[in-house]
């Protein structure tokens, strides 16, 4: 104890602030010191001292970013939705509720809304269940399981564009899938995965699922650790098979994680853009039949020539309301589930 206190206490960083006596600190150093928390010039008891504006200075970039690129754009979107602003500038005037009445009569808008909702309705249940099954499959520590876990995660790493390119060639008329099916004599002529509007939508859903599988598998792996192993052992003793154990022990054990995955993927489905762009080309399927809401927003709101940022904003508000509704619904379901 005595030896410890006898030694001079080394506080890292003190050598930086110690200035040579007699030399005035340079202007830059003075500015740098003022921005960092620490002793004010001449202040003693430095450890506790903090200038009142320092917290604001340190949080300022985050606040500015959150306001300028988060809160303001949303409020601005609501305001813009009552105007006829052009994406590349020029005079804009208020048009009242015109954009919203136009939206209600716009069959393309309803088509995009239907596609987005359909996307969520089909993908969410699969995305809640399939990764869970996968997680159960890789949960047990078998030889080589680390390799499988990492391998299943790789689609997450590739960008949507790259996997889109990959799937484009898998699903082309002379692509791998059609060739194999033909070789196996399961089909006579190629399935038009990339030219039929329904098949494009389904293929895009498949792509979303495929890319999200590894991500939510890892998510579930953490949750599975909380399911008591004894329950499985007891059930096995009683002669319950793997399927029954999955439904009656695993699923109830990870209910909360499943609710969370459902909510996250639901919101994710409403944001789908790249999958449709890659598989249905830049038009969003034949005649734009596969466009989702974000796709439609980009088409009507941001096209440099024909775009109407006001109308695009109105559709954006609709997308936000849809997302909010989904979030509230999920919250309510979670609460009921817990009660």
């Amino acid at each position: 104890m005595a030896t410890e206190t006898a030694e001079p206490v080394f506080v890292p960083g003190t050598e930086r602030t110690a200035s040579v006596p007699g030399t005035a600190p340079s202007r830059i150093r003075r500015i740098v010191r003022a921005v960092l928390p620490g002793p004010a010039p001449g202040a003693n008891g430095a450890a506790l001292y903090r200038r009142w504006w320092l917290p604001w200075l340190w949080t300022a970039p985050a606040i500015v970013c959150a306001v300028v690129f988060g809160v303001f754009p949303f409020l601005n979107t609501v305001i813009l939705s009552f105007t006829n602003a052009k994406p590349l500038g020029g005079a804009a005037s208020f048009v009242g509720l015109d954009n919203y009445t136009r939206m209600l009569d716009d069959s393309d808008f309803w088509l995009a809304t239907r596609n987005s909702i359909l996307y969520a309705v089909i993908v969410v249940p699969l995305m809640v269940l399939l990764p869970l099954m996968l997680a159960v499959l890789v949960e047990r520590n078998l030889p080589g399981i680390g390799f499988f876990r990492s391998a299943f995660y790789t689609p997450v790493l590739a960008s949507s564009v790259v996997v889109g390119l990959s799937w484009q060639w898998l699903l082309a008329d002379d692509g791998l899938v059609n060739t194999w099916l033909e070789k196996a004599h399961l089909i006579r002529s190629a399935i038009p995965f990339l030219s039929d509007s329904w098949l494009i939508l389904l293929s895009a859903m498949g792509l979303t699922l495929w890319k999200g599988l590894g991500w939510y598998m890892v998510f579930y792996l953490a949750a599975l650790g909380n399911v008591p192993q004894e329950l499985h052992e007891a059930a096995q003793m009683d002669g319950a098979g793997a399927v029954r154990r999955f439904w009656h022990i695993t699923v109830p054990g990870v209910r909360q994680a499943m609710m969370l995955v459902g909510t996250l993927t639901g919101i994710g489905c409403l944001r789908v853009f790249t999958e449709i762009f890659m598989l249905g080309s830049s038009t969003g399927g034949p005649g734009g039949a596969d466009r989702t809401l974000p796709f439609y927003i980009r088409d009507v709101g941001l096209d440099p020539i024909t775009g109407n940022a006001g109308y695009g904003s109105a559709v954006s508000v609709a997308l936000f309301v849809l997302t909010l509704g989904l979030t509230l619904l999920a919250q309510r379901l979670t609460k009921e589930d817990e009660a």
Binding site: W58, P87, F148, V163, W169
Partner: protein
């Protein structure tokens, strides 16, 4: 007695500890099946990129393995397409994003984790509020802002909205809150001022969260597509994902081997990062749940 403990007689072979043989076989068959589905398409893409001009990529005659592996497609992708420019642009956005995200999410996260200053709650509310709006529902307005700043077709315009994310600030705040109070007290007793405590105590303690922020920023900036598509116009400003998307088979009839080579080039940096820092990747997954 001791020998019996030291060398228990093996009653069954080692692999039997993992389960009944039939169950094991089924498990591994399932694992291989999923492996084929998940990695297969990417592997096929990679193998096709190694094929020479004479070998079919498509159709009934196409084989899985290239018979005469060649790097021709990789040379071609650099000469036919300005891939080097695309990569440079992507890297500019990635580096700018990582630097700004790290600096400002740690500073803001630190201050938010500290009690004793007015307005802390208000800052927190603003940050959480900014996360409520899906990017797609505010992108029209964002684009108009970027236009007013004169940043259309400019890489700075791609970077700015991802300047510092509220989610990362909250992530760092959580990591700083986990640092035990006693350690800070003892640092204070030793006379360490706030900057020294931040730099030498808090930052090293939050190493894991810093890695998660770095990796998440890297991947989202490197893989981002919709926002660069909206902001960027000219070929020499395009990022890699944007440039690749223009090589769609339908549009120009590029050599598929070349396009696949481009895809492989875009995946490799992320794959390398993943192999090096695997466990932080997995942590990032659960960190994403903070989004709610």
């Amino acid at each position: 007695m001791t020998t019996a403990v030291d060398k228990p007689r093996r009653l069954m072979p080692r692999w039997r500890e993992y389960g009944r043989p039939r169950e094991l076989v089924v498990r591994y068959l399932l694992l291989l099946f999923v492996l084929g589905i998940t990695v297969g398409p990417l592997l096929w893409q990679f193998l096709a990129s190694l094929k020479g001009v004479g070998e079919d990529v498509f159709g009934a005659d196409a084989s899985l393995l290239p018979h005469h592996p060649t790097l021709r497609a990789y040379r071609e992708v650099f000469s036919q397409v300005p891939v080097a420019t695309y990569i440079r642009n992507s890297l500019i956005v990635v580096v700018l994003s990582i630097v700004s995200q790290l600096v400002f999410s740690t500073t803001a996260g630190y201050m938010l984790s500290k009690p004793g200053w007015k307005g802390r709650k208000a800052v927190w509310v603003v940050l959480v509020a900014s996360m409520m709006f899906p990017f797609e529902s505010i992108m029209v307005s964002l684009f108009l802002s970027i236009r007013d700043l004169g940043l259309i077709d400019n890489l700075a315009g791609v970077w700015l909205p991802g300047f510092v994310g509220a989610i990362n600030v909250l992530l760092m705040r959580g990591a700083f809150l986990a640092v035990p109070r006693e350690i800070e007290d003892s640092a204070m007793l030793d006379g360490a001022n706030e900057w020294q405590r931040f730099r030498y105590l808090y930052l090293p303690s939050a190493w894991g969260a810093i890695m998660v922020v770095t990796i998440n920023t890297f991947i989202s900036a490197w893989d981002d597509f919709l926002w660069p598509l909206i902001v960027l116009r000219s070929e020499n400003h395009m990022t890699l994902t944007l440039g690749l998307s223009r090589l769609q088979s339908s549009s120009f009839g590029y050599d598929q081997r070349v396009v696949m080579a481009g895809s492989v080039i875009s995946v490799i940096p992320v794959l390398v990062l993943f192999v090096i820092t695997q466990r932080w990747f997995y942590k990032g997954v659960s960190a994403g749940a903070v989004k709610l």
